[in-house]
Amino acid sequence: MNILSLFVIIPVVMMVLLFLENSKKAIRATMATGSSLMVILAFYIAYSFLTQRQAGADAAYLFTASQVWYQGFLNINYSVGIDGISVAMLLLSSIVVMTGSFASFAIEDQTKEYYLWFLMLSIGVFGFFISINLFTMVLFYEVALIPMYLLIGHWGTGPKEYAAMKLTLMLMGGSAFLMVGVFGIYFHSAAPGQPYTFEVQEIAKNLSLYMPINMQHVFFALTFIGFGVLGAMFPFHTWSPDGHASAPTAVSMLHAGVLMKLGGYGCFRVAMCLMPQASDDLAWVFIILTGTSVFYGAYSACVQNDLKYINAYSSVSHCGMVLFALLMMNKTAMTGAFLQMLSHGLMTALFFCLIGSIYGRTHTRDIRLMGGMMKIMPVLGVCYVIAGLASLGLPGLSGFVAEMNIFVGSFEHPDMFHRVFTILACTSIVITAVYILRVVGKMLFGPVQDPHHLTLTDAVWWEKVAAFGLIISIAIIGLYPLWISNMIGNSLDAIVKLF
């Protein structure tokens, strides 16, 4: 058995165990051990990936394994494999899943069902990142979507049912675009008469030979939009603020932290890598859309008063930045894009984790009704400031590394169009500082608005585990980014030549 399949098997085993357990203690123990095991596994994989690369293994994907599933009309394999980019994504996912499990310890209502759905979500996420077969990618992608409905609809807050339905339907709508694209790709993946394939590597070799360029344009647009919906690309981002605002803490963490990265990763892996010519031709359309996401999201965040809405719009802006950088199609910007995925994933997870903790105490997320939190709950307050600083790109934290790469890379394009959009996107950094500091100033340092808040307590142990885990990861990327940016960059070398 392939070691990568453990990423799917461990959650499945955990689901079975949870199904058999009834006491809350046992459920918590299972979640804590299982998710920590995944973090260890992810780091082990990263370590052995790097050692194998150093030892000279230069295949595009390592740890590959393939198992025939369907044959004949549809040739479907369960194929797994990872390159540097997937390793980074696996690290991110496992950390967020672990911290998310700890952050969900506060859930009292139907704990078992909650964790079952939570694990199904993580199966989808992990499965997607280890797949190198289009069919299983789509399969895991949709597996990750549907638990969101019940997680938000049942355990959420506010207009949760509306938000859950909106989110599910919009993302499924995206997958409708995606599916048509996948069919188009599949039926052009080999010479007529030859057996078609869903294998990403095979398709990458064949597609440009057997698919006429005007069809490539259509299917590139379809797949890019399909994944772009999940990456909160303007104008398909509207599910994101409502969904994030209504979701329970850990679900917001996982969703903004990992699931939205599925969108960017998919845009890159499926739309761009398979149809490089078309992505060259159509990049301008999507640069306009993603550029709009970047500054539109940032401006919207400035006028929100709900903490979760602020971070949801900030996610739109940052995820727009990811897609924007991918479309620049050079090594520096793309490395930045993946670093931004990591950095944004960790720091948004941290934000939502802290907001969940604060909301659990104050029962309000309106920043106008809160103040002086730094005095009342210093640990949470300090963590919030750190998250904010990472978000606005302070050197030494992960956000700076990512944004630096992105803007240096985008500025490499000398033409007017790219310059204008790069500068527009750059302005978002300033605006980010505005909305982050506004929250910090009002909520953490302002005068206490509500005397009841003075009685509130600070973080409990599991909240500390979740928050500190994320902060440490952010600091590691910020202080020592080279190993991870090299890992990503090396995998990009071969791909960048395509464009």
């Binding site: 369907y70 009309f73 399969l139 949709e142 339907l169 709508g173 409708a176 048509v180 039926f187």
Partner: protein
């Protein structure tokens, strides 16, 4: 006459044997031993099902005909008949409790009529000419009307039966008119092969074909011939609705496909099949959309499933438009998955209706807190109907869309996929009612009888594992044929 021809149709002979045996045993069994009838009927039918599977295991020659080509059979025909047998068996299990309580006086009628309709479907599937096909269709339709009206104490049931028989009679009249025109314009023969040789796609012939299609569209309840569906499903006893929604639809869709391919296409002149492909294209789009949009507004779950089954029929027809062996295989796989899924949904509804009389979606609020198992089964059925992985519905949808996409029907596939989003909305409404909504008066905890428990377990296992069993789909594809 060469009586050895009956050996070719062993499956039908076996079913006819079951029918006669049950008829006789109903006569012979006295009042006291009446309660034995139901187990006996299920047992005999189960034996027939097993025999059918045994027959289906042999590899038949590709053109196995009897009575000068009136009757055809092959592995794929066998397979579909076996699916129908299996589905009928599940329906029998589901209806066990209902027969014991509500339908006490008509137990024998229920079994006999159901098996007669099944016999009609067999003939429809295996028909090699229009005459046998028409006989099969009528044998499947007329007892069905009686089944729909079986609940004699309920007005809605009688109303549903009347609606069904009137529209069925009207549509089969239209169809018969079409067949007579085809007979006249295609060289005076009713054999599919002869019609295919003489069918040149002239306007008159196309008109005849459309009249013929109207009749079949009624059976599959494709828009605009769907108006009977909701009322009939709502009024009919729930096991009958379940039977109607899966078996009747599956058999008719397969027969429709065979006739379109065998009688109205010619492999050397593909432009002929273009004449109906356009019509089918529009029918699919309208059927899926109308079914979905009307399903959103339904509160009664039986009506809701009726409209959902209309849109599912549209998806089934995607296999027809492809016109390839992959299309046929995907369609049969779709029917198989749909059988498990829809029977699971109807099984839950039937259980709850039997014991509490509640069929509205609002009544299902908070079902998970009182009946977690039924709620989970219903949820799996809804997810599978909506095409959510890793449940079987995702695979069947993916395959049938792929079959259509293979022929370049990308726009159609896109419209169908966009429609799955609408359908997901109303399937999720049911899930929401059960898992998210709260109710002050939830449905009391129900203890299902053993038979329906067994049926629901089988269906649930089917929904969960069917997608992972790839040899099943591969062998269907291997047996199927195209234009």
């Amino acid at each position: 006459m060469d009586y050895s021809q009956f050996l070719v149709m062993q499956h039908e002979v076996s079913l006819a044997g079951v029918l006669i045996l049950l008829l006789l045993s109903d006569l012979i069994l006295g009042e006291k031993s009446k309660r034995c009838f139901q187990p006996l009927a299920i047992l005999i039918f189960a034996l027939h099902t097993i025999y059918g599977f045994y027959l289906g295991c042999e590899t038949l020659p590709s053109s196995n005909t009897a009575f000068a080509g009136m009757y055809l059979t092959s592995n794929i025909h066998m397979f579909l008949k076996n699916i129908l047998d299996f589905g009928t068996l599940i329906v029998f299990f589901l209806s066990y409790e209902w027969n014991q309580t509500t339908n006490k006086e008509n137990i024998a009628e229920f079994y006999l009529l159901t098996i007669s309709t099944l016999f009609g479907m067999y003939l429809m599937i295996s028909a090699g000419d229009f005459l046998l096909f028409y006989l099969g269709l009528e044998t499947a339709s007329i007892p069905m009307a009686t089944l729909v009206a079986l609940d004699k104490k309920k007005k809605v049931s009688a109303e549903a039966g009347a609606k069904y028989i009137l529209t069925a009679a009207f549509s089969s009249g239209v169809m018969l008119f079409g067949i007579s025109l085809i007979y006249g314009s295609c060289g005076g023969s009713l054999y599919f092969a002869d019609v295919a040789n003489n069918f040149a796609g002239e306007k008159f012939q196309v008109m005849a074909m459309i009249f013929f299609m109207a009749g079949l569209c009624f059976k599959i309840s494709l828009v605009p011939f769907h108006l009977w569906t909701a009322d009939t499903y709502e009024g009919a006893p729930t096991p009958v609705s379940a039977y109607l929604s899966v078996m009747s639809k599956g058999a008719a869709a397969f027969a429709f496909m065979c006739i379109l391919w065998k009688a109205f296409s010619c492999s050397s002149a593909p432009e002929i099949s273009e004449s109906w492909k356009n019509i089918i294209w529009w029918i699919i789009v309208i059927t899926i959309t109308v079914g979905n949009i009307f399903a959103i507004r339904q509160n009664n779950l039986k009506r809701f499933l009726a409209f959902s089954s209309i849109s599912q029929a549209g998806y089934i027809m995607l296999g027809v438009i492809a016109g390839t062996d992959n299309g046929m295989g995907s369609m049969i796989y779709y029917i198989l998955v749909y059988l498990f899924t829809n029977l699971a949904a109807f099984g839950v509804i039937s259980d709850i209706e039997n014991q509490t009389g509640k069929v509205n979606r609002d009544d299902y609020n908070g079902l998970y807190s009182t009946n977690p198992r039924l709620a989970v089964v219903m949820m799996l059925a809804m997810f599978s109907l909506g095409g959510i992985p890793p449940f079987a519905g995702f695979f069947s949808k993916f395959f049938i869309f792929a079959a259509a996409a293979e022929q370049g029907e990308y726009l159609l596939v896109f419209l169908a996929l966009a429609n799955t989003i609408i359908s997901l909305f109303y399937y999720l409404l049911v899930v929401k009612a059960m898992f998210i909504n709260h109710s002050d008066t939830p449905i009391v905890t129900i203890k299902s009888d053993k038979m329906s428990l067994l049926a629901l377990t089988v269906c649930t296992i089917g929904v969960v594992v069917l997608g992972f069993i790839s040899p099943l789909y591969e062998s269907i594809i291997h047996w199927s044929f195209g234009i």
